[in-house]
């Protein structure tokens, strides 16, 4: 009962932080629109249609159709992690915003919850943008694809929660670069976004399913193609579990960093 009350207030406090991030985004989105919609558009054209012209069909679909759902999941991941690494680190370390917020009734756990909720929202926005581009090219075959938007939110939530663990422990902004070169980009290449996983050695396949982008890409692909299976429930639960565990760890580490 007490625990429930605390939990609820963490998400409520998080909503207050989310509102701050939304206000900031609404002032700057015109600058960021290139990253949100133009880059995925170029990626889809260049790789999906350009390179894809030299690639045989995957299963019974053209390469671009295979690639598009993977890109929805990937850009959800990218934009969530940008915000909860570089963005959050700047707010915390350079602009002292976390310190100021801690002098209000909010606690470190609220801040972490709010940052993750906002990153997840960015993921949903980016996922939606890629979805619209993909629909424009006729690459989406099922109305279930609309569920890719909440899926993108969940993907964003999971990877942002992992990213906040790093942000809470980073001592320089350069530490974020390692996160991208050693975690985000490898995941982008081996999670079934560009080619089916069965092309990879079996041990890499198995390892890949532990990384959040693999279930994420599979989930969005299933929705985009209307190929619903019980596995999608498993993948959703995997992402949810990653999200909640990583959030707990990040919140604990953030308290250790901020309250001393």
């Amino acid at each position: 009962m007490v625990l429930q009350t605390v939990q609820r207030s963490v998400w409520w406090g998080g909503y207050r932080v989310w509102q701050r991030n939304r206000d900031a985004f609404l002032r700057s989105w015109k600058v960021e629109i290139g990253g949100i919609a133009v880059e995925p558009f170029i990626m889809l054209v260049a790789i999906g249609f350009g390179l894809g012209a030299f690639i045989q069909d995957v299963g019974d679909r053209p390469y671009a159709e295979f690639l598009a759902p993977g890109l929805i999941a990937s850009y959800a991941m990218f934009h969530a992690t940008f915000d909860s690494t570089y963005g959050a680190y700047l707010r915390m370390s350079t602009h002292n915003i976390y310190e100021a917020v801690l002098f209000t009734p909010l606690q470190p756990e609220d801040i972490v919850a709010g940052e993750i909720m906002w990153s997840a929202t960015r993921a949903a926005v980016s996922g939606t943008a890629v979805l619209i581009v993909a629909v424009g090219f006729g690459l989406i075959t099922s109305p279930f694809a609309v569920l890719a938007i909440p899926a993108a939110y969940l993907i964003g939530f999971s990877v942002a929660a992992i990213a906040m663990i790093l942000t809470a422990t980073a001592t320089t902004i350069g530490a974020m670069n390692n996160f991208f070169t050693l975690f985000v980009m490898p995941m982008f290449y081996v999670s079934g976004v560009f080619f089916p996983l069965d092309r990879l050695p079996e041990w890499v396949q198995n390892a890949s399913w532990i990384l959040p982008l693999t279930p994420a890409a599979a989930l969005v692909r299933g929705l985009a193609e209307g190929d619903l299976t019980w596995w999608m429930a498993v993948w959703t639960l995997e992402l949810l579990a990653v999200a909640l565990i990583a959030h707990r760890i990040a919140a604990m580490l953030m308290r250790r960093r901020l309250v001393k």
């Binding site: 406090g13 207050r16 509102q19 701050r20 206000d23 900031a24 002032r27 700057s28 602009h95 002292n96 915003i97 310190e99 100021a100 917020v101 801690l102 002098f103 209000t104 009734p105 909010l106 606690q107 901020l258 309250v259 001393k260």
Partner: protein, 307 residues
Amino acid sequence: MTSPVAISAKNLIKRYGDLVAVDGIDFEISRGECFGFLGPNGAGKTSTMRMISCASPVAGGELLVGGKSVTAEPRAVKSILGVVSQADSLDPDLDVYQNLLAFTRYFNLPRKLAEVRIWEALDLVELRGKASVTPDQLSGGMRRRLHIARAMLHEPGILVLDEPTTGLDPQSRHMVWERMMHLKTRGITILLTTHNMEEAAYLCDRLVVMDHGRILIQGSPRDLVREHAGERVVEVRVGMDRKAGLLEVLEGTGLAFEDAGDSVSVFSENGDSRLDGGLLDDYEVVRRPANLEDVFLRLTGRGLRDE
């Protein structure tokens, strides 16, 4: 908050690893009072302020703010505090109005009330005309005033200010002082740390001087000056060649004095008439009323403190 005591600390302790930053201090701050914490760098002032603001866990002792324990009820304590910390923490991604709006949300003020309070706060610090610019377009003085406005939105009973005028030009400093006097007349309890003795003497009803985590003295600025530096001070400008001789003469008189390098301050604790007569006739002297800085330097010494 009906009790006359706003904040009370009993045997309050703060440790960072092996370092004892606050070493068992006691104090009681009354409602409506302006209370100052003075001390050299590393004396434990900011640690004390951070514990009061629930931004730093208490290592020992008891600390009650508005009758509530900072350890047991941090959210409740923080909801009655307005804190202005040393670091600049304005949000560069939002305009001035939005900076304040974000904080009304952290305090869960309803939107309508928030709007009213934001304009009141902007009027309080005379920044109404700057509502739609971003903080990086404000001068240092304006930024400091905006921090104060941001701390006032939820009408806190207690305002905590950590070096509020450090780095400000004289005009901005006087503006901040004038605003703080105004807040005092509204019955708000103010806690202040400062290195500016003039500021402490002007604003504080009572203050403590801390060093090495302990409280050395406490009282009203006027009483502290009278007790620890007397009525007047004679500063004797003296070269190294003649200093030894001067110090010897002063030792013989039993007068309190302090060697300040190229000058020696002599304190006249009870309006000692010897200082007016022949004793110092051979020297270049400046006579002035004793002030809080004399007290501070006598108690904490002249050695530099590196944090």
